[in-house]
């Protein structure tokens, strides 16, 4: 079946095709369409599912933990402030080792209120123990949501998975999507089975006090599980291609990397834009390719090392920032090739709060980097102080002067 739908409605289709049985979510722009569509599916008898209209995101994740702990396939959807509000329980869900899937619409954080896209929200949730997969198209949102359950429930993994896609660009724009037959999806995704659950026949206490002698071992097992998930993500993507038919890459997707001497590294919808920039760069005589990071956690260490280490130059595009440091993916790309490469590594932070990132901007910065006109550090190429920024900056400088601030 072919549909023209918003990314949000496609995510709802993902939960439906995966046969999620408990959905617990709280509305937040720009995620609301996901839960509206799921409610409609349930009301019209198209989806057999309990929907818990919780009173906050903190409770959304707590309820997810409760239902997943009962051994029932669970789904949620959130965005930005919602993700941050449930942050405590993101750690809890991963730490107690529960399989579940949540989509997060990548949105900028306040203040001021901004409902448009950047990756700051999920970057802030990077170290929670969740697997994070980033999508670049509507079809990929559907396919990744279904794959996410396979990955999450794999007995070598047993960790929650976050499927991330860009606000507005993907969440609200309409694109054509191929919805596979339910029976085909069922062949790919078997019914949920959990390693552990709240079992009346085998009572067990989960998550009680744990002393230093045991705690580190638990964290190490999570670290190993995320390592294991690399292989599982690859297998899931390949089997999905074989059974259902679509393929968007595994931990990464590459574009025109054959014979490349330089590469762009990006995540989410910017990577689609960057493909056009790559074409322009190739036309201009630069043998450049693109690596789209699809799995941010686990980070594609081996893949990036193999592809990027032999290159002359790499330009990372970050849609988030680590204040007091640099673009977060920039740090990680450098860490991956550290000591194994002579590549120059550049970074632009751009597209924050939904600012449009054009292929021309990417092209210009890539060309500047290749010509040695860019410094090997994070730069903010799109920032330009307009009239009201200049007025407030001038006011601040005058205030500093008055207060004797040097």
């Amino acid at each position: 079946m072919r549909l023209v739908e918003t990314g949000n409605h496609v995510a709802a289709w993902g939960a439906r095709m995966a046969r999620a049985e408990v959905v617990s979510a709280y509305p937040i722009t720009p995620q609301t369409q996901v839960i509206e569509e799921i409610s409609r599916f349930i009301d019209e008898g198209e989806m057999d599912c309990e929907y818990i209209p919780v009173e906050s995101e903190h409770s959304a994740m707590a309820a997810m933990i409760g239902s997943a702990a009962m051994g029932v396939r669970s789904f949620s959807a959130t965005s930005a402030h919602g993700l941050l509000y449930m942050h405590e329980l993101l750690h809890w869900a991963a730490g107690i080792r529960l399989p579940m899937v949540m989509v997060n619409v990548n949105r900028a954080l306040g203040p001021g209120w901004n409902i448009w896209c950047d990756h700051q929200d999920t970057i802030a949730a990077r170290d929670t123990g969740w697997i994070q997969l980033y999508c670049a198209s509507h079809q990929e949102i559907l396919d990744t949501t279904i794959q996410a359950y396979r990955i999450s429930e794999d007995l070598k993994v047993i960790l929650p998975v976050m499927v991330c896609y860009d606000a507005i660009f993907l969440s609200h724009n309409y694109m054509q999507v191929e919805i596979p037959d339910q029976e085909v999806v069922d062949r790919f995704l078997p019914p949920f089975r959990s390693l552990w659950k709240l079992d009346l026949d085998y009572p067990f206490t989960h998550g009680s006090v744990i002393y230093p002698d045991d705690y580190e071992e638990v964290r190490y097992s999570m670290f190993q599980a995320l390592d294991n998930s690399r292989k599982v993500i690859r297998t899931a993507a390949e089997e999905y291609r074989d059974i259902v038919g679509n393929y968007h890459g595994d931990l990464i997707e590459t574009y025109r990397m054959e014979g490349a001497e330089s590469a762009l590294v990006a995540m989410g919808s910017i990577a689609s834009e960057a493909k056009m920039a790559v074409d322009m760069l190739r036309d201009a005589g630069y043998p450049c390719g693109l690596v789209r990071v699809r799995s941010y956690r686990p980070f594609p260490i081996e893949e990036l090392r193999t592809l990027l280490a032999p290159l002359r130059a790499v330009l990372v595009i970050d849609r988030g920032v680590s204040f007091g440091m640099e673009g977060p993916m920039y740090s990680e790309v450098k860490a991956v090739i550290y000591g194994r490469s002579d590549a120059e590594v550049y970074d632009i932070v751009t597209g924050l709060g939904g600012r449009d990132v054009t292929y021309e901007l990417i092209f210009d910065n890539a060309e500047a980097a290749l010509k040695g006109k860019l410094e090997q550090k994070t730069s903010w190429p799109a920032v330009s102080l307009n009239e009201h920024h200049r007025i407030s900056k001038k006011g601040l400088e005058e205030y500093w002067k008055k207060e004797g601030v040097k």
Binding site: V54, V72, F204, T205
Partner: protein
Amino acid sequence: MRLRDFPEDEVFLQGSAACQGCPGSAAIRVAFKALGRNTILAVIASCTSVFQSPFPLSALDVPTINMAFATGGAVASGITAAADRLVAQGVFDEKPTILAWAGDGGTYDIGIQALSGAAERNTDFIYVCYNNEAYSNTGTQRSGATPYAAWTTNTTKGKEEWRKDIAQIMIAHGVPYVATASLAYPTDMFRKFAKAKEIRGTRYIEIQAPCPPGWKFPSSYTIKIARMAVQTGMWMLYEYEEGKTTYTAGTKRIIQGQSKLKPVEEYLKEQGRFRHLFYPERDEETIKEIQDRMTHIFENLQFTHKMKEHIMEIELAPPH
């Protein structure tokens, strides 16, 4: 139900890590005697998180999930929704009782949002607040449940505010069952749990839990203090269902005039947390303030009771 008729089966096993005289462990023991083993338990951050014993041991012989502080109502919502699915699929023959077990901090303060949300959705579960009137697990700091004038580590001169009445807040949610209980009246508590078990929807039970280290009294006095709280009116026993509040046990006897309301002083004097009301000098004003409040509440209740009896007499009297 008499004490000797309580089931012998112990769900809360021996050898827990609770303090001597711990009211929480005593309460959980009575609760499970009434609820039985077909129960799924969510323990919300509180002393119970600790006294159930550390990994890999456990004193709780039912499936138990420990959860973060602000999650009582929410985690139970997820468990009960999943249990409904499992009943529909035939995995469960009957739906197990879903029990969220939290302290007063996790109920009155940080957990009220999740509890209120669950109650508004009439989520099918029992929520228990065992109320030791402070954050005892973290070393006795004030909570929304700490009574007026009580010492805690961050109200060193006595708390300046009265506690909020969360059982009444739960009644205002329109849930099917709300009850208060006391360790000194275990048969009353047992009956309330047994009744709650048979009701569907959100059921709220609050147990006053006198805490020896937090309230500063000898650990052998837990039950004595609990009884004095009821006898002085500082803790009231009642249950609410179908729009009607019924007073029970010790509280009922005071209201019906079968026993007298004892002076609050008897209750306050026994506890180190109220020591500043008596030493180095007696704080007559504060003691009187607390006494007046109790007297006022019970005079009203007694008056209402008498009026009702009077109306009943008129209604029952044969026509002239």
